[in-house]
Amino acid sequence: MILGRVVGNVVATQKDPRYEGGRIMVVRPINPDGSDAGDELLALDAVDSGVGDTVVVVREGWSASTTSTGSPGAAIDSAIIGVVDTVDDNA
């Protein structure tokens, strides 16, 4: 998984039926210190995140599909599976 910040969302009327009811968010990968770490990606939202939230994004098809749509087999690459409160370096 990677850390990311939600910077927006995508509205698509014509889409795969498996996505119905889901929200497609634009996520910018970040490092633990908050700096940017690469290009934005699209992820289906499984946890009701909002713009500005720091989130955990899983980048694997089966995990993304089961968490965001409830069953495997949807054509999805990544999903938001958690909203981060803090990144603590005193593990």
Partner: protein, 152 residues
Amino acid sequence: MENGKWKMEFRIRSFQTSIFHLPFIISHFLTGLYTPAQAGSGWRLCYRKVSPMQLARVLGTVVATVKSESLEGRKLLVIQPLDGSFEQKGQPLVAIDSVGAGKGEIVFWCRGREASFPFLPSEVPSDCTIVGIVDSVFLDSRFTGSNPKSTI
């Protein structure tokens, strides 16, 4: 993954396949166990960037109250992937812990669909799971070309 090598591999439904599997594939075709429709959706010849070493150092924990139900009770750690000489490689990742690792430890991790296997039969969404705590790494300098720098 920046330092990874490009590797070509043949995959059927995410399982890596080799020439040795060919008789099984053909026999499955002949007996109808594996239909062309499945093949069309599942076969692919792909180039994948493979990481030469799946070591990482644990940097800290991620605290997330709102998370997917299937992540309840799982520990999320931030890890920094390392190369063979324990230099930082690539961007930090968030990993689920399956072995009880802590901050500062060198760990062995796996990626992809297989990353959720340690938690079976629970279906945990993960593409990066810590599967071992490294005690030591031995690299023979005759093959690596330089003396390894052990930081453990």
